[in-house]
């Protein structure tokens, strides 16, 4: 009898708090978005599952001694995002960007979303009940980088309490890129601009591809050492792939290793989706600012492309500017799709890949600035 009572008192039904129930629903919502809607499933599925597991009463899976507690160390120590970045580097082909380097500036412009939403977060302090420090604001702004590992890395350093909301916002908006970007792109461009055909990309030699990650690393060492953990691991992965002499390492980095770390990282991020941390007005602010960041980043990229088009001797279709936010390769595909709507023979995909991967570099640089200037 005693046993039965103690058992009843140990059931989830007996111990649930409203917050836990709500967060578990958020977890199921993320699973639904991942599985049924195909929203960045590789990350939202483990994150959603982690959210469910960490909000189970009694079990304590994300408390000391629980699995998610240990996995979270991989984020806390900055290991998981860097290993993922290495894998992403190994998967990235810089060819289209090297063929048309000026598209790098589009990747720079789109980072304006980061700093605009940083400012927005600070402005939201005017709203009663909201209080974002500069560190919080910077971590929120990085959502605009449209790059998962970078966002998680920066948030884990500057505002670990907001990590869950920031990661969810970042991956959700990355999945929503095909919905968020097109109206902005159409609003800021004329039909004539969207029809612009671009020159074919020149051939890029293997030597250039091998040298590029080293040049990138060198520049970030000289100018912005605080960005080198991110840029360095990205360059390592890219070099392993482009050099052609360590294929077995490159393959493992972009397959098994990144898969293992992705499962662990997703679960660990999910473990930060606790009721206390997530169910705050802050979270609404973060979600709103994230959307703003994506929108402003997209707009900045497009406008920059329009400016460049005016001054460039070769034509630039402004649509590819939107790809500068990163969100590889989704944003580049969106640019391609909108371009095809205006001109069914105009394939912008390769041209958009340049600003797209440049956006990854741009957000890593922006992350370095934030990490270096904010104490």
């Amino acid at each position: 009898m005693e046993n039965l009572i103690s058992l009843w008192q140990s059931t989830g039904i007996y111990n649930f708090t409203a917050g836990q129930v709500f967060m578990m629903l958020i977890g199921f919502l993320l699973l639904f978005l991942a599985i049924k809607k195909g929203f960045e499933p590789l990350l939202l599925l483990p994150i959603g599952f982690g959210a469910i597991l960490s909000n189970i009463p009694v079990a304590g899976i994300s408390q000391e001694g629980g699995l998610l507690y240990f996995l979270y160390y991989g984020i806390k120590l900055g290991i998981f995002p860097l290993l993922i970045f290495m894998g992403v580097g190994a998967m990235t082909d810089f060819g289209p960007m090297l063929a048309n380097p000026k598209t790098l500036l589009l990747g720079a412009a789109a980072q304006f979303g980061i700093f605009a939403s940083l400012l927005g977060a600070l402005a939201l302090n005017a709203v009663p009940g909201l209080e974002f420090t500069l560190r919080d604001a910077a971590a929120i702004g990085i959502i605009g980088g449209a790059d998962g590992p970078t966002a998680i890395y920066v948030a884990s350093k500057l505002a670990p309490d907001l990590l869950g909301a920031i990661a969810v916002a970042a991956y959700s908006y990355m999945a929503l890129v095909p919905l968020i970007q097109p109206p902005i792109m159409r609003a800021l461009t004329t039909e004539a601009e969207r029809k612009i055909e671009m020159q074919q990309l020149r051939h890029v030699s293997k030597t250039e591809k091998i040298l590029f990650p080293l040049i990138l690393l060198l520049l970030s060492i000289l100018l912005l050492p605080s960005s080198t953990p991110l840029v360095g691991m990205f360059a390592l992965g890219n070099l392993m792939n482009s050099c052609g002499v360590v294929d077995r390492l490159s393959q493992t980095a972009q397959n098994e290793l990144i898969n293992i770390v992705t499962i662990f990282l997703g679960l660990a991020v999910g473990s930060k989706l606790s009721a206390e941390a997530f169910l705050q007005i802050k979270t609404l602010g973060i979600l709103a600012l994230g959307a703003v960041a994506f929108a402003i980043g997209t707009a900045s990229g497009v406008i920059m492309a329009k400016i460049m088009n005016r001054f460039s001797d070769t034509p630039i279709n402004p649509l590819i500017g939107a790809a500068g936010v990163s969100a590889v390769p989704m944003a580049a595909r969106v640019a391609n799709k909108i371009g095809l709507e205006s001109n069914p023979h105009n394939f912008l995909l390769m041209h958009a890949m340049g600003p797209n991967v440049a956006g990854v570099i741009g957000s890593a640089v922006a992350a370095g600035v934030l990490l270096s200037l904010i104490k």
């Binding site: 790098l104 250039e208 100018l223």
Partner: protein
């Protein structure tokens, strides 16, 4: 509060400046590298590579022949 905003604004200016500066320098360096490569190690690089690869390939062919022969010899007797 206003202080916070102003440091945010400063951060934005510094940040965008650095991001642009960084990527612009990257543009310059990439262009320079590409020119250097096409000038100083144009098809030379390619051919140099091809030669060394060829040498390697030949060496490898020798190795492979040797290995194949050895393995064959080794196995054929058992």
């Amino acid at each position: 509060m206003t202080e916070l905003m102003s440091s945010g604004l400063e951060l934005m200016l510094a940040g965008m400046a650095i991001v642009f500066l960084f990527l612009a320098m990257l543009v310059v360096v990439i262009n320079a590298t590409s020119k250097l490569i096409t000038r100083y190690l144009p098809e030379e690089v390619a051919s140099h590579n091809t030669v060394s690869v060829a040498t390697n390939a030949e060496t490898n062919k020798h190795y492979i022949a040797a290995i194949t022969a050895a393995v064959h010899q080794y196995r054929s007797t058992h």
